[in-house]
């Protein structure tokens, strides 16, 4: 995985038009929480933690099959990058899937229509596997609750863990992450934007006022 250098990411000249369309005001007025190289390092660290944790778990009873399930859109991308890293560090490639939680949301009646995102169940399903849910930002916890409901319809995993790049607090449900890239105390008026090369042309995490988004 190529992580663009910190300096290159900060200089506007190296930007693609794609990222300029998505992020100019965040980059200009927002606070940078993670630079591009920080994002790369954080993902590598979470990958190591997942390897360590699953290795510990496997001592108890055989070795569980590990499945990474990303929550679209950026969670899926993060899950794919984590899968690459885990393979690089441990030689074992976990199965990869994605689960769109739109159909499981509890606010469908009060929010505007949103199109479905991609769902793919990995080969072999998730039955008796150790599932790691992956998302970019953990906020109220409602997305994770929806994902847990969704997982239940896919099969019965042995256990479910949660990996997020940013935990910004303000939980509305009793949910916590097992793997956290960075804890960021925020106010509700603020918003966090995670930029990933695959979607935004660059990596980076920014904190900015909600009204700007």
């Amino acid at each position: 995985m190529a992580v663009p250098g910190d300096r290159a990411a900060k200089s506007g000249a190296a930007e693609t038009t794609h990222s300029q369309r998505h992020t100019p005001e965040w980059v200009a007025t927002g606070r940078e929480l993670l630079s591009a190289s920080d994002v790369g390092r954080t993902i590598a660290r979470i990958a190591h933690q997942i390897i360590e944790k699953t290795a510990l778990d496997s001592d108890e009873a055989g070795s569980p099959r590990v499945v990474l399930i990303g929550i679209p859109t950026r969670g899926t991308t993060l899950a794919a990058r984590l899968t690459d890293k885990i393979e690089e560090f441990s030689g074992v490639r976990p199965a990869l899937g994605s689960l769109d939680i739109t159909l499981y949301r509890d606010d469908l009646r009060s929010r505007p229509h949103r199109p479905l995102e991609r769902t793919s169940v990995p080969e072999g399903g998730i039955e008796d596997a150790l599932v790691v849910l992956v998302d970019d930002v953990l906020f109220s916890g409602r997305t994770v609750r929806s994902a847990l409901d969704g997982l239940r319809d896919l099969g019965r995993p042995r256990s479910v863990q949660l990996a997020v790049l940013i935990d910004r607090g303000h939980r509305e449900l009793p949910i916590r992450a097992d793997f956290v890239g960075k804890n960021v105390p925020t106010s509700r008026a603020e918003d966090i934007s995670v930029l990933l090369t695959e979607h935004d042309g660059r990596d980076g995490v920014y904190l900015h006022q909600e009204a700007e988004a």
């Binding site: 769109d100 159909l103 499981y104 469908l108 009646r109 009060s110 929010r111 505007p112 229509h113 949103r114 199109p115 479905l116 995102e117 991609r118 769902t119 793919s120 169940v121 399903g125 409901d149 239940r152 319809d153 896919l154 099969g155």
Partner: protein, 319 residues
């Protein structure tokens, strides 16, 4: 989108979006243990069928149930319609009973439009922003939008794209709402449509449709990317539209000989129910070129997408 009454309400972007969404539903259901999504929990979908149907009604029912909606089937023969209740009173009753969506099939063209008009009026009178969503599941000789959409989805899956493809629609164009909806939707999606039918089975004003008319099936088959066979709607025919079933079959039936005229990649479709041996030879209907069962499967996913689109999300306020 408040109702789905006609394919002409959909522009290319809206139609493509529905097709994409149907494919996402297919993906979402793939490899699952439980074919049940909580998306429409607590919503009531009523199918109101004044004409017989297996495919469409079952398809809507499955779509609704897989999304956890409560689905109630009303058929004309087993309801107060058979006692002489008017369409308006039936609609008023279902409105009062709390339907969130009505799937309407009626032998009269425009029936779904009329019900949608009444429903919106009653909702306004009650001070609510919106009443039940109406889906036209076939109104007389007018339209059958979800059928056209599922046909388009099948074509897109089989041919990769619809833009620039030539689709030949064969048979009883006059009585076919499927043909009418398909002509307009396929045109919107950029396909070239050719209608093949005897002169007696073409509607008045067909010249104004975005389609070319031909009477020679053999001449049209070699250049076709897809052939859509229609059912001869004997129940709508009150006179001699063609001399005999045998002659119709010889001139317009899709036989094994004609199947051989088609290009390698071409697709054969039929909205069902099929009259095997007359419109389509049995061997053709069961051949690998036929996409008839794929149409049925797509129908469920497409109707899930339609219900999702109509029933989910805060409705834009009605002024």
């Amino acid at each position: 989108m408040r109702h789905l009454l006609s394919v002409t309400d959909l522009d290319r972007a809206a139609a493509s979006e529905l097709l994409d969404e149907a494919e996402r539903f297919e993906q979402a259901l793939l490899g699952r243990e439980v074919h049940k999504l909580p998306t429409l929990r607590g919503r009531t979908v009523m199918t109101v069928f004044y004409e017989n149907s297996t495919r469409t009604r079952v398809s809507f029912e499955v779509a609704g149930k897989w999304m956890s909606a409560d689905v109630i089937n009303v058929s004309a023969s087993s309801s107060s319609v058979s006692k002489g209740e008017s369409l308006r009173d039936t609609a008023l009753t279902l409105h009062a009973a709390g339907a969130d969506a009505l799937i309407v099939r009626h032998p009269a063209s425009g029936a779904a439009h009329q019900i949608a008009h009444w429903m919106d009026g009653w909702a306004r009178a009650e001070g609510r922003s919106s009443g039940p969503a109406i889906v036209n599941a076939g109104d007389g000789m007018h339209e059958h939008p979800t059928q056209a959409l599922l046909d388009a989805l099948t074509l897109r899956q089989r041919l990769g794209d619809i833009e620039g493809k030539r689709v030949v629609i064969v048979g009883d164009i006059l009585h076919s709402r499927v043909a009418r909806s398909n002509v307009f939707l396929l045109h919107t999606l950029g396909a070239e449509v050719v209608l093949v039918a005897p002169r007696t089975l073409l509607p008045v004003g067909v010249e104004a449709w975005p389609a070319r008319v031909s009477h020679h099936l053999d001449a049209e088959l070699p250049g076709a990317d897809a052939v859509l066979m229609l059912r001869v709607q004997a129940e709508r025919m009150n006179g001699g539209f063609f001399p005999s079933a045998r002659e119709y079959s010889v001139n317009y039936g899709l036989s094994e000989r004609r199947l051989a005229l088609l290009a390698e990649h071409a697709v054969v479709m039929h909205p069902g129910p099929m009259l095997r041996g007359m419109e389509i030879a049995s061997a053709v209907a069961d051949s690998p070129k036929a996409a008839i069962l794929q149409q049925v499967t797509n129908g469920v996913h497409l109707r899930m997408a339609v219900l999702f689109r109509l029933l989910v999300g805060a409705q834009e306020a009605v002024a």
